[in-house]
């Protein structure tokens, strides 16, 4: 599949996006209005700059997501071979998941899972 599907994907993606924009440019009516340039056409105008400092909670959530993301990545090859390897593979992964579960317990105890 490799290169063939990659080429097809690239061609389809380019055609799809370029075609959509071209068709809209050709057939759509175009009008100019000041309000169209605002970030939100309806609702209150935005206040302050865009470069504000975020809460540390965002970082903690991204961190916990990243750690368990990596854990799940290891479970995919395991799921492919477990039928052939049997109980031993299951025990190995049980240890793996248990050790990471301790981390989840720590995060829970510390209150990192709570949104502030």
């Amino acid at each position: 599949m490799g290169a063939g599907s990659l080429i097809l994907l690239i061609i389809c993606g380019v055609l799809f996006s370029v075609g959509g924009i071209l068709v809209a440019k050709l057939f759509g009516p175009s009008s100019y209005n000041e309000q169209k340039l605002e970030a939100y056409e309806c609702g209150v105008p935005t206040e302050g700059g865009t470069w504000i400092q975020y809460n540390v909670g965002y970082y903690l959530f991204a961190l916990i997501f990243l750690i368990f993301d990596v854990e799940i990545v290891f479970l995919f090859p395991w799921a492919v071979v477990i039928r052939e390897m049997g109980v031993i593979a299951f025990l190995e992964v049980l240890i793996f998941v248990f050790i990471l579960f301790l981390g989840l317990l720590y995060a829970w105890k510390k209150g990192a899972l709570k949104w502030v």
């Binding site: 990659l6 400092q53 975020y54 050790i99």
Partner: protein, 170 residues
């Protein structure tokens, strides 16, 4: 030039261009986005080598995890999207020369020791082989590193949470 070669040239030139932009741009945020493009193109190369699972992992871990973490820490640590000062001319000249000589050294080593251009020996590793490699005992089995990796992740998680929370209490 076949289509696969053309794709390889396209993707690898994008990797290199975005890599250079990553280290040379003056705005931190743009630097992270260029790094993201570079990593996505590396995933495309994995895909070109018929390692679909590895390409997916590259996107999930690097693009979905690490870049997001870098972006959040950018939002936490930078003041009002300021532009960084460019490094001095002497410094960048020196670094460019050093890395260029490093590249020449690596290139000559690779030329001297690279395997024969046997085009048919390229066979993609399947996910099943990776799974057996991860979970097997004995030769070509890496079950001990597999378990140690979980301890490393646990340590990283506990350490990062402990450090990040310490700042919050003050």
């Amino acid at each position: 030039m076949t289509i696969a070669n053309f794709i390889f040239y396209l993707v690898s030139s994008m990797i290199l261009v975005f890599g250079v932009l990553t280290i040379s741009t003056r705005q931190l945020f743009r630097s992270a986005i260029y790094l993201l493009f570079s990593l996505i193109n590396v995933a495309a190369l994995f895909f070109l080598m018929d390692n679909e699972f590895l390409a997916a992992v590259q996107v999930v871990v690097y693009v979905g995890g690490i870049i997001v973490l870098i972006l959040f820490s950018l939002f936490l640590t930078q003041q009002a999207g300021l532009k960084l000062p460019l490094p001095g001319l002497g410094r960048s000249m020196m670094a460019g020369l050093l890395s260029f000589f490093g590249f020449v050294l690596l290139f000559s080593l690779l030329l001297a020791a690279s395997p024969e251009a046997d085009e048919n020996s390229f066979s993609a590793i399947t996910m099943k082989e990776i799974g057996f490699g991860l979970l097997n005992f004995g030769k070509n089995g890496y079950v001990l590193p597999f378990e140690v990796v979980s301890i490393l992740l646990l340590a990283a998680m506990i350490g990062a949470i402990a450090i990040a929370f310490k700042t919050k209490k003050e």
